[in-house]
Protein backbone atom coordinates (compact mmCIF):
# COMPACT_ATOMS: atom_id res chain seq x y z
CA UNK A 1 0.00 0.00 0.00
CA UNK A 2 2.86 2.38 0.82
CA UNK A 3 4.50 1.60 -2.55
CA UNK A 4 1.18 2.25 -4.30
CA UNK A 5 0.75 5.60 -2.54
CA UNK A 6 4.26 6.80 -3.28
CA UNK A 7 3.91 5.79 -6.94
CA UNK A 8 0.59 7.59 -7.31
CA UNK A 9 1.79 10.75 -5.57
CA UNK A 10 5.01 10.82 -7.60
CA UNK A 11 2.92 10.53 -10.78
CA UNK A 12 0.72 13.41 -9.52
CA UNK A 13 3.82 15.52 -8.88
CA UNK A 14 5.09 14.95 -12.41
CA UNK A 15 1.68 15.86 -13.87
CA UNK A 16 1.73 19.10 -11.85
CA UNK A 17 5.28 19.83 -13.04
CA UNK A 18 4.12 19.28 -16.63
CA UNK A 19 1.35 21.85 -16.13
CA UNK A 20 3.74 24.30 -14.45
CA UNK A 21 6.26 24.07 -17.29
CA UNK A 22 3.79 24.08 -20.22
CA UNK A 23 1.00 26.31 -18.91
CA UNK A 24 -0.17 28.86 -21.50
CA UNK A 25 -0.90 31.61 -18.99
CA UNK A 26 0.37 32.65 -15.57
CA UNK A 27 -2.82 31.47 -13.85
CA UNK A 28 -2.21 27.88 -15.03
CA UNK A 29 1.18 27.93 -13.37
CA UNK A 30 -0.28 29.30 -10.14
CA UNK A 31 -2.86 26.46 -10.13
CA UNK A 32 -0.07 23.92 -10.64
CA UNK A 33 1.99 25.35 -7.79
CA UNK A 34 -1.03 25.30 -5.46
CA UNK A 35 -1.80 21.65 -6.25
CA UNK A 36 1.88 20.71 -5.86
CA UNK A 37 1.84 22.22 -2.36
CA UNK A 38 -1.12 20.05 -1.36
CA UNK A 39 0.64 16.96 -2.81
CA UNK A 40 3.65 17.73 -0.57
CA UNK A 41 1.25 17.81 2.42
CA UNK A 42 0.17 14.27 1.38
CA UNK A 43 3.77 13.06 1.21
CA UNK A 44 4.53 14.39 4.66
CA UNK A 45 1.40 12.78 6.15
CA UNK A 46 2.39 9.39 4.70
CA UNK A 47 5.91 9.67 6.10
CA UNK A 48 4.30 10.40 9.47
CA UNK A 49 2.17 7.24 9.05
CA UNK A 50 5.27 5.13 8.34
CA UNK A 51 7.51 6.42 11.11
CA UNK A 52 4.72 6.78 13.76
CA UNK A 53 5.95 10.19 14.92
CA UNK A 54 4.09 13.49 14.87
CA UNK A 55 7.08 15.55 13.76
CA UNK A 56 6.20 15.25 10.07
CA UNK A 57 2.64 16.43 10.67
CA UNK A 58 4.08 19.71 11.95
CA UNK A 59 5.83 20.02 8.59
CA UNK A 60 2.55 19.18 6.85
CA UNK A 61 0.56 21.85 8.70
CA UNK A 62 3.13 24.60 8.19
CA UNK A 63 3.57 23.64 4.51
CA UNK A 64 -0.19 24.03 3.99
CA UNK A 65 -0.06 27.47 5.63
CA UNK A 66 2.89 28.65 3.50
CA UNK A 67 1.34 27.32 0.30
CA UNK A 68 -1.93 29.15 1.04
CA UNK A 69 -0.16 32.45 1.77
CA UNK A 70 1.95 32.17 -1.37
CA UNK A 71 -1.06 31.46 -3.56
CA UNK A 72 -3.01 34.41 -2.14
CA UNK A 73 -0.02 36.73 -2.61
CA UNK A 74 0.57 35.73 -6.23
CA UNK A 75 -3.11 36.00 -7.12
CA UNK A 76 -3.39 39.45 -5.56
CA UNK A 77 -0.31 40.49 -7.51
CA UNK A 78 -1.82 39.10 -10.70
CA UNK A 79 -5.04 41.00 -10.09
CA UNK A 80 -3.08 44.25 -9.92
CA UNK A 81 -4.02 45.29 -6.40
CA UNK A 82 -2.24 45.87 -3.10
CA UNK A 83 -2.68 43.67 -0.04
CA UNK A 84 -5.04 45.97 1.84
CA UNK A 85 -7.87 46.45 -0.64
Amino acid sequence: MITYLFTVLLLCSFLCLYRISRGPSVADRVVGIDILGIIVVNFSAIVSYITRTDFYLNISLSWALLSFIGTIAVSKFLEGKGFDE
Binding site: M1, Y4, L5, V8, L9, L11, C12, L15, C16, Y18, R19, S25, V26, A27, D28, V30, V31, G32, D34, I35, I38, I39, V41, N42, A45, I46, S48, Y49, R52, T53, D54, L57, N58, S60, L61, A64, L65, S67, F68, T71, I72, S75, K76, L78, E79, G80
Partner: protein
Protein backbone atom coordinates in the same frame (compact mmCIF):
# COMPACT_ATOMS: atom_id res chain seq x y z
CA UNK B 1 -10.85 -3.67 11.39
CA UNK B 2 -9.21 -0.31 12.06
CA UNK B 3 -6.20 -1.23 9.94
CA UNK B 4 -8.42 -2.40 7.08
CA UNK B 5 -10.43 0.83 7.17
CA UNK B 6 -7.24 2.91 7.25
CA UNK B 7 -5.81 1.12 4.20
CA UNK B 8 -9.13 1.51 2.35
CA UNK B 9 -9.14 5.28 2.99
CA UNK B 10 -5.53 5.52 1.78
CA UNK B 11 -6.46 3.69 -1.43
CA UNK B 12 -9.42 6.04 -2.06
CA UNK B 13 -7.30 9.11 -1.29
CA UNK B 14 -4.53 8.15 -3.71
CA UNK B 15 -7.08 7.46 -6.44
CA UNK B 16 -8.74 10.87 -5.98
CA UNK B 17 -5.34 12.61 -6.05
CA UNK B 18 -4.53 10.86 -9.32
CA UNK B 19 -7.89 11.84 -10.87
CA UNK B 20 -7.43 15.47 -9.85
CA UNK B 21 -3.98 15.69 -11.40
CA UNK B 22 -5.16 13.99 -14.62
CA UNK B 23 -7.89 16.65 -14.76
CA UNK B 24 -5.21 19.31 -14.25
CA UNK B 25 -3.41 18.10 -17.36
CA UNK B 26 -6.28 17.10 -19.65
CA UNK B 27 -8.90 19.85 -19.36
CA UNK B 28 -8.86 22.78 -21.83
CA UNK B 29 -9.23 25.93 -19.71
CA UNK B 30 -7.89 27.59 -16.55
CA UNK B 31 -11.30 27.51 -14.85
CA UNK B 32 -12.01 23.86 -15.74
CA UNK B 33 -8.56 22.82 -14.54
CA UNK B 34 -8.99 24.78 -11.32
CA UNK B 35 -12.34 23.21 -10.51
CA UNK B 36 -11.33 19.61 -11.20
CA UNK B 37 -7.94 19.70 -9.53
CA UNK B 38 -8.90 21.66 -6.42
CA UNK B 39 -11.98 19.58 -5.54
CA UNK B 40 -10.43 16.16 -6.17
CA UNK B 41 -7.09 16.90 -4.51
CA UNK B 42 -8.79 18.37 -1.43
CA UNK B 43 -10.93 15.23 -1.02
CA UNK B 44 -7.92 12.94 -1.54
CA UNK B 45 -5.83 14.83 1.00
CA UNK B 46 -8.64 14.68 3.54
CA UNK B 47 -8.99 10.90 3.01
CA UNK B 48 -5.26 10.29 3.52
CA UNK B 49 -5.13 12.51 6.62
CA UNK B 50 -8.24 10.75 7.98
CA UNK B 51 -6.53 7.39 7.62
CA UNK B 52 -3.50 8.77 9.49
CA UNK B 53 -5.95 10.07 12.14
CA UNK B 54 -7.72 6.77 12.81
CA UNK B 55 -4.55 4.67 12.88
CA UNK B 56 -2.32 6.63 15.22
CA UNK B 57 -1.98 7.65 18.88
CA UNK B 58 -3.49 10.84 20.30
CA UNK B 59 -0.79 13.36 19.34
CA UNK B 60 -0.81 12.24 15.70
CA UNK B 61 -4.63 12.26 15.62
CA UNK B 62 -4.88 15.79 16.98
CA UNK B 63 -2.43 17.24 14.46
CA UNK B 64 -4.03 15.36 11.57
CA UNK B 65 -7.43 16.73 12.62
CA UNK B 66 -6.05 20.29 12.69
CA UNK B 67 -4.53 19.80 9.23
CA UNK B 68 -7.87 18.51 7.86
CA UNK B 69 -9.73 21.57 9.18
CA UNK B 70 -7.06 23.90 7.81
CA UNK B 71 -7.07 22.29 4.32
CA UNK B 72 -10.88 22.39 4.20
CA UNK B 73 -10.86 26.12 4.97
CA UNK B 74 -7.95 27.29 2.82
CA UNK B 75 -8.20 25.28 -0.41
CA UNK B 76 -11.53 26.76 -1.67
CA UNK B 77 -10.36 30.25 -0.66
CA UNK B 78 -7.17 29.90 -2.69
CA UNK B 79 -9.12 28.54 -5.67
CA UNK B 80 -11.56 31.46 -5.55
CA UNK B 81 -8.68 33.97 -5.39
CA UNK B 82 -6.93 32.37 -8.36
CA UNK B 83 -10.06 32.28 -10.52
CA UNK B 84 -10.94 35.90 -9.73
CA UNK B 85 -7.38 37.05 -10.48
CA UNK B 86 -7.26 35.14 -13.76
CA UNK B 87 -10.60 36.62 -14.87
CA UNK B 88 -9.48 40.14 -14.02
CA UNK B 89 -6.08 39.71 -15.68
CA UNK B 90 -7.79 38.88 -18.96
CA UNK B 91 -7.59 35.10 -19.41
CA UNK B 92 -10.26 34.16 -21.96
CA UNK B 93 -12.75 31.37 -21.48
CA UNK B 94 -12.65 28.22 -23.60
CA UNK B 95 -14.65 28.65 -26.81
CA UNK B 96 -16.98 25.79 -25.87
CA UNK B 97 -18.12 27.52 -22.66
CA UNK B 98 -21.81 28.39 -22.66
CA UNK B 99 -22.27 30.76 -19.73
CA UNK B 100 -20.42 33.83 -18.40
CA UNK B 101 -22.45 35.35 -15.57
CA UNK B 102 -19.79 37.85 -14.48
CA UNK B 103 -19.72 39.45 -17.94
CA UNK B 104 -23.53 39.76 -17.97
CA UNK B 105 -23.33 41.31 -14.50
CA UNK B 106 -20.84 43.95 -15.60
CA UNK B 107 -22.96 45.17 -18.53
Amino acid sequence: MKGFFSLFLMFIGGLFNLFGCIGLVRLPDVYNRLQASTKCVTLGTCCILLSVLISGPVNISLKAFLTIIFILITAPTAAHAISRASYKSGVNLWEGSVCDKLKEEKK
